[in-house]
Amino acid sequence: MARDRAGLRTSPRGLALIALVPLGFLAVFFVWPVVAILRLGLREGGVLDTLASPDVWQLVGFTVAQAAGATAVSIVAGLPVAFLLARTRLPGLGLVRVIILVPFVLPSVVVGLAFRALLPDGGVWAIILANASFNVAVVARTVAGLWTHLDRRAEDAARALGASRPRTFTGVTLPALAPAIGSAAAVVFLFCATSFGVVLILGGARLKTLETEIYLRTVELLDLSGAAALSLLQLGAVVAALSIGAVMRRRRETALRLRGQAESARRPAGGEWWVVAAAFAVVVALLVPVATLVARSFQSGLDGYRALTGIGYEGSLDISGFDAARNSLAAATDATLIAVTLGTMASVVLVSLARNRVRYVEVVDTAFMLPLGVSAVTVGFGYLITLDLLPGDLRTSAALVPLAQALVVTPLVIRIMLPVLRSIDERLRQAAATLGAGPWRVWREVDVPMAGRSLGTAAAFGFVVALGEFGATSFLARPDTATLPVAIARLVSRPGELNNEMAYAACTLLIVVTVAVVAVVERVRVPVGEF
């Protein structure tokens, strides 16, 4: 029956208690600092002046233009790959899944550096391509997720009615995929518009986006009112993009319920080989910057790797490369633990609300996504002016870095866990209840075992993303607690060939760890979820 309602309610009080933890975290470590920064900026006045300045609108123009460009490139590049993953059965597809994910989880600094090694002249195109290469995976995976479940017979019917392959694609397949493409586009646009490391490294002093300008004004010009104005602008844009994404997601989830179980993958035929060729071209293109980076790291033998034991040319770092790597691992581990705990709690609350037919769940859902889109610099600076009010002044604590990373990773955990929990048939839980399982026992016996594997996936992805987090970390890490991405950025900003070699070697280290984790995740992948 279509009208299954929640019959086994998790008690509202218990739910509220669980909700309190992630919401409390969000309030203390996100809303409060951000609001404090905004208030600080607004109090100083000059916000309107900033917003009236033509420079700012030029900045907005460039931010939107490069994000739109990168989004368009990711969609064009991602669609053939989505086709490859969803509709074909060829050897080596598992490897393709891993390869496209590598840029997505690589530290943005590393990707930026890779493109600098590849296109030394940098410029707009370098920024667009770097941002796009990040997000091909998001497009390919989100779209492939829907495409796999799309009933192939609608296309077969169109073909039988005389439509050519391209006509069938534009007339039947593309409209059916539109929700997934739209949802992916919203997320990708968000990622590109707030991309920090890539723009910072490739744009230099010439090309600036809102995100880098906020950083610049906050850290170097101490223009807080200007930064606050820009943060407000960015926040508005982010909420808009997230809302569009949420609407698209809702439509897609309705669509997914209609899926045919029929296996839709088969050997490509005829013109489909061209699409397959295009997909492999994209995959190779994604590999080029990474390969360049690895090659550069070995250009002078193992010098770069040996240098990691030291602190760089003329003491560019305060700690050795390996100490930075140890910091990275420790911070990412803590961040992952925090994020998985919070993300799971948030997912449980969100899915329970949805099961109880509570309206406006999307609003709560979107609230949890906000940290993805708000300038990490705003958050980081907000910490510095608010957290001294908490007991045991966190500002000088090493715990601040994992907390900030957890803020970025938690939305990712939610995006992975929520679809899995939502896909569990309510009647399965009802069956458990009629057999004598109380509300909490149902969670333990049904939801936990079924979502367990994706919890592992979420943890692994969270770990690599935390490992590569740059924006907030660069702001919060003290010299002796610098992580590898922070150390890399510092190394490339200082002169000395040794520093460059060391940076490339450090990038390769990060790539190896990332690829290893992603490959393991792929082994135990659950075919639900968005990433």
């Binding site: 399965l428 069956a431 009629t434 057999l435 004598g436 079924m450």
Partner: protein, 342 residues
């Protein structure tokens, strides 16, 4: 004993179940029969505790179940499509209720139940590798294992193909008797209802319109809509005297029919070809179609342009003239006034 009184369940403004009274005695199997959307599944889910009641009471013996949550009601539930736990094997599924109730001797009970449903030795099988029929048997074993006070079956056989469905319906009927189960079965299939149930309650638009033993419901539907749902396609006024009903198509012995003015409901098998090819109302054969165990005929009656369904043992040639007779097996008797107002 289950006693439902004045039960109402709302979906928004719609009363999916509207002021329903129904009882299931200990050891009795009651079928809720009705077309899809009539509220029968909602009623069953309300009894299970999965739907909140807007009004009325649900009692077991003398206990009001309003404040008893799903997992404490001790009712077993079988869904249309099994809903086995995919992360547990067959034994893990069957033992689930036993674990929840901390019963001992689980392995023996599991083996006993699998034996009962004809799947002895299936303990370690993965549920994803079972056929539809096997999965449904496991679902039944799982529901029966903790010895539920009441077994709730929601379209238990509808997801299976027809041959399997008929086989399993017979098995299930025997099994419910052996287990001495008290059960409430929801179905839209009257064959299934009549095979399984001691008593049938016919539901329409959220209300129970008729309750009685299968034979009574089959022969004496309370109105035309119910009669149509039970296969009658043609309705004729008739007079019953001394156990014989007479209508425009002839006379037929119906010793169980009440005397007086009635309406006869004719199922296709109420009209057959006469043995000698003569006598009875005549008509022109339009179509002759093979069904599984009979041939379905369409005949245009002489004199009127009325097209009626009939059955025959072997195929006939369309265009031929045929003679028909009434067969009491295919007839239902309705009160004359029951035709009005439908």
């Amino acid at each position: 004993m289950l006693a439902v009184e004045g039960l109402t369940v709302h979906y928004g403004a719609l009363a999916a179940v509207d002021d329903v009274d129904v009882t299931v005695a200990d050891g009795e199997v009651l079928a809720l029969l009705g077309p899809s959307g009539c509220g029968k599944s909602t009623l069953l889910r309300a009894v299970a505790g999965l739907e909140p009641a807007a009004g009325g009471t649900i009692r077991w013996d003398d206990t009001d179940l309003a404040d008893v949550p799903v997992h404490r009601r001790g009712f077993g539930l079988v869904f249309q499509d099994g809903q086995l736990f995919p992360h547990r094997d067959v034994a893990g599924n069957v033992a689930f209720g036993l674990r929840m109730k901390r019963m001992t001797g689980r392995a023996e009970r599991v083996a006993e139940l699998l034996e009962l449903v004809g799947l002895a030795g299936y303990e370690r099988r993965k549920v994803t590798e079972l056929s539809g029929g096997e999965a449904q048997r496991v679902a039944l074993a799982r529901a029966l294992a903790p010895r539920p006070r009441l077994l709730l079956l929601d379209e238990p056989l509808s997801a299976l193909d027809r041959a399997l469905r008929e086989q399993l319906a017979m098995d299930l009927a025997g099994l419910l008797r052996v287990a001495g189960a008290t059960a409430l079965v929801v179905t839209h299939d009257h064959d299934e209802a009549f095979t399984l149930a001691d008593r049938v309650a016919v539901m329409r638009k959220g209300r129970i319109v008729q309750t009685g033993p299968p034979e009574e419901v089959w022969r004496r539907p309370e109105g035309e809509a119910t009669a149509r749902f039970l296969g009658c396609g043609l309705f004729l006024p008739a007079t019953v005297t001394d156990g014989t009903a007479t209508c425009e198509l002839g006379s037929v012995d119906l010793p169980w029919a009440p005397a007086g003015e009635v309406t006869l409901g004719l199922r296709p098998n109420a009209l057959r070809l006469t043995e000698n090819g003569e006598g009875g109302p005549a008509g022109k054969l339009l179509r002759s179609v093979h069904r599984r165990d009979h041939v379905r005929l369409q005949v245009r009656l002489d004199g009127s342009d009325q097209v009626v369904d009939a059955v025959a043992a072997i195929a006939e040639t369309p265009g031929d003239r045929v003679h028909l007779r009434l067969d009491p097996d295919g007839l239902a008797v309705l009160r004359r006034d029951a035709r009005q107002g439908e």
